[in-house]
Amino acid sequence: MPEINHFRRVALIWLVSSIVATPLVIFLFAPIVPPGQGSVQSSGQVLDNTVLFGLSTPIALAVLIFFGYSFVVFRERDPAAVLDGPAVRGHAGAQLWWMIVTITIVLFLATYASYRTFVDGAGGGQGPIPASVPVPSGQSALPVQVIAQQWQFTYRYPTYGGVETSELYLPEHTIVKFNVTSLDVVHSFWAYQLAVKADANPNVNNVAFVKTRGPLTFNVRCAELCGVWHGYMFNLGHVVSKAQFAAWIAQQQRQFAPITKSLPKYNPTYNPAPTRRGG
């Protein structure tokens, strides 16, 4: 009886299952994985996730099938016997190929993710001097300041007289520049459906860009442990039509006019006295 070529069998099983599973993962599973299509940046993240899912499916299958096959086929059938397997201590070719394949995949992933990050900023906080400014020349972004404090977010609109609101409204199809800062401890501004996350640090202006799409209600949550009521630091945000936004912001300006006068002047950061517990 000719010896079974186990390796060829494993490779075949892997090839068939990868050909079946990878398109299923890419076309059926990856698109439904959040954050969805709420903004340009969230679509970018879904795309990046799809690439990662697509690549990791055959890799995971290779490892699982290899081990699964080995555990079934190479199991010791006679528990009483203590027999040794072949004394193979390595295989230069296999090791070399493994390195070539893993290094290629890793370099591709790092390059691709870096590229994706710089295309649209990926919705992440980039610090005071953003590396990626996804604002085409001739256009300008709507600046919105996110002020985090224990335990709520408030928002200031510097282009609308620096009015400070407790609700977040954004116009549709607009590039928004979030300037995220904190008045006390470290928070993290997470606009979930917009795929924006930026830490709010005291004394730091952390900039994140997002380009909104159509009307949408999104969740805002704090994503960095900020004390006792961290779990309750959330509210809703809204992407509305440009007309609705104009109406809303005008109404806010009127309503908060007396307060806006006594607010500190708009600044990238505010420097409150450290809230030290003391004693």
């Binding site: 990662l52 190479f74 203590v82 072949p86 193979v88 996350k197 004390g227 450290p274």
Partner: protein
């Protein structure tokens, strides 16, 4: 020498032995030290300095921190760690061994004992105890998360549970393999009779126990609300319970530094003739890489927390924004320790898996050098990745591609470990014993841990998954699925050698299957929970996520049940059944299995000479001779 020791021990009645330097005197010393620190020295300091310059803040923090410091010193003095230096100062001859002779029996386990086998078992039981507390915390966390709103504990208590669970696991369990199995087996595997610094080895253990107690006392001081990362300036706001966190991690860091140093020294200088670097068991290589990381990373933690303590007591402003400090300083320092730390947790597991696979596949370790390169590569690269914890923090965005690249590069040496495992099982004669099952569990879990790590290392995916339950599920797959599974593999594998008794195989298999299924059923859905928008460490979550959270909580209880089965197995097998184990039940070719069970006091009558590595399976060589002979 041993004859004299036996006589003295036998001659001493129990009451005489209790008044000596042991756990009892250590506890008394700790109490006295705490009172001195908290009530005498603390008030003495702030009465004369801080009040003088008009500062009244931070007084009780000084008291509590000094209480912990002097309590620890009192404990160690009571344990007898000051005896040796004092005796030497007074001109007495040095004592080379403490409480080593076996006539003292169980008593040795409650003393400063310089026998590495005693310290190994001390570590196993001590860390096991705190592992149990940390695990109980996890059960309580999951109980709170059964409902979307606060219902069992208050928000404050909940966060204390979260912080204590994380700190306990990341602090105490970090030494979970190096402590018990490193201390016990590395000298044996090297052909040595002891560790390089036996007193230090006992010191690291008792210091770690002090740390565990310090963390547990946080509940008396209002707990801490910062999670295990203890970010400032939130920590600066914390009540006195945060001082327990500082004290805990500073002590853990000191213990880890010294343990790593001791292990490195042992591996470098204590190898028997013929135990060349290329014959070192792969487990020892894992310990070597881990120890190097411990020794270099843990001091960073101690320094970070000393600065936090100064901020709270002496009113410095290292981490206070706006007055010269920055929270980024804390984050950078913490993760500069914290990222090597997660590999400190993972690497010993790599070592265990690669050490055990050849035994149960009856094949030599495939690609030994690749495995070594993998471990050293992970160790080296782990210094260059820490800012992937800070991708959205607002730290200079230009450096993100570097940290992305470095983080993804680390999957190359990690892949080497998988390659070695794959090569070793291929065409082996695989025996599915309990330790082997846990190794298989590691392979499966770490695969998902690694793949989910790729999502966190890519900025676009990380923006959504960062700080969510996705990252929490990811590191539980690598740490619990990695370290805890391999800890159990090591326990089932080496208990027959450490105790001379068998653990029940059937109970072990039942435990494995419940743990394996419950583990995946707990942390698998949490990937989804994270993607669906639930941040970490929240006490409330959207009502729509309740089903998934309840599923996870119920699965987590099954993890708890599997731990109870393990506990029952240990108590039943080691205390009641006491079935003697064979000398070499796994037919391993590694040297520790060629020695009698339990291992004799000074390990080897004659120092062995090695001429092969521990994996000559299927090779036409004679099996290693019994201990002391030519190997």
């Amino acid at each position: 020498m041993s004859a004299i020791a036996v006589r003295t021990a036998a001659a001493r009645p129990l009451w005489r032995r209790l008044i000596g330097f042991n756990l009892l005197t250590a506890i008394i010393g700790a109490a006295i030290g705490y009172v001195i620190g908290h009530m005498v020295i603390g008030p003495a300091i702030h009465a004369h300095s801080l009040d003088y310059i008009g500062l009244t803040a931070g007084q009780s923090d000084i008291d509590v921190l000094l209480g912990y410091l002097f309590g620890t010193i009192g404990f160690l003095v009571g344990m007898g760690f000051a005896n040796y230096p004092i005796r030497r100062l007074l001109g007495h001859p040095p004592s080379l061994a403490e409480h080593e002779d076996e006539a003292e029996g169980m008593f040795r386990y409650f003393t400063l004992c310089t026998d590495h086998k005693v310290v190994g078992l001390q570590y196993l039981v001590g860390i096991g105890f705190f592992f149990l507390i940390g695990g109980l915390n996890a059960m309580l966390i999951r109980t709170e998360l059964l409902q979307p709103n606060v219902h069992v504990f208050g928000a404050n208590q909940y966060l204390t549970l979260v912080g204590e669970h994380g700190a306990m696991m990341m602090g105490m369990i970090t030494s979970g393999i190096l402590g018990p199995f490193g201390t016990y087996f590395v000298p044996l595997m090297l052909g040595a009779r002891r560790m390089a610094f036996p007193r230090l080895e006992s010191f690291t253990f008792w210091l770690l126990m002090c740390a565990g107690v310090v963390l547990t006392t946080t509940v008396f001081f209002g707990g801490f609300q910062t999670g295990w990362t203890g970010y400032d300036p939130l920590g600066d706001q914390g009540v006195l319970g945060y001082d327990a966190y500082i004290g805990f991690f500073a002590l853990v860091g000191t213990s880890m530094t010294l343990l790593g140093f001791n292990m490195l020294a042992t591996i470098v200088v204590m190898r028997a003739p013929g135990m060349t670097w290329s014959r070192l068991p792969i487990f020892v290589w894992g310990v070597f890489a881990t120890a190097a990381l411990m020794m270099l990373a843990a001091p960073m933690l101690v320094a970070t927390l000393c600065m936090a303590a100064l901020d709270r007591t002496a009113q410095t402003v290292f981490y206070i924004a706006g007055v010269g400090g920055s929270n980024y300083l804390y984050e950078n320092l913490f993760w500069f320790f914290g990222h090597p730390e997660v590999y400190i947790v993972a690497l010993p597991g790599f070592g265990i898996v690669l050490e055990l696979l050849p035994v149960f596949c009856r094949k030599p370790l495939w690609g030994y050098r690749v495995g070594v390169a993998g471990m050293l590569g992970v160790g080296l690269l782990s210094w260059f990745v820490w800012q992937h914890h800070l991708f959205v923090s607002g730290i200079d965005a230009d450096v993100r591609p570097f940290y992305m690249l470095a983080t993804e590069l680390i999957s190359i040496p990690t892949g080497f470990i998988f390659l070695c495992a794959m090569g070793t099982v291929w065409r082996g004669r695989i025996r599915f014993t309990v330790p082997m099952l846990f190794c298989i569990g590691w392979i499966f879990n770490f695969l998902w841990g690694g793949i989910s790590g790729v999502f966190l290392s890519a900025v676009p995916s990380d923006v959504t998954t960062h700080g969510s339950f996705f990252s929490m599920a990811h590191f539980h797959y690598t740490i619990m699925g990695g370290l805890v599974f391999t800890m159990f593999a090591a326990i089932f594998y080496w208990t027959p050698k450490m105790t001379g008794l068998k653990l029940n195989e059937t109970l072990g298999k039942i435990q494995f299957w419940i743990l394996f299924i419950a583990f995946n059923s707990t942390f698998g859905p949490l990937f989804a929970v994270g993607f669906l928008g639930q941040p970490r460490r929240v006490v409330s979550y959207p009502a729509g996520l309740q089903f998934l959270n309840d599923w996870v909580s119920v699965s987590a209880y099954f993890i708890g049940i599997s731990m109870l089965i393990f506990l029952a197995n240990v108590i039943w097998s080691l205390l009641f059944v006491r079935e003697p184990a064979e000398v070499n039940p796994w037919n391993s070719k590694s040297i520790e299995w060629q020695m009698p069970s339990p291992v004799p006091l000074h390990d080897f009558e004659r120092i062995p000479v090695f001429d092969v590595d521990p994996y000559p399976y299927g090779e036409p060589l004679v099996a290693p001779a019994p201990a002391g002979g030519q190997v």
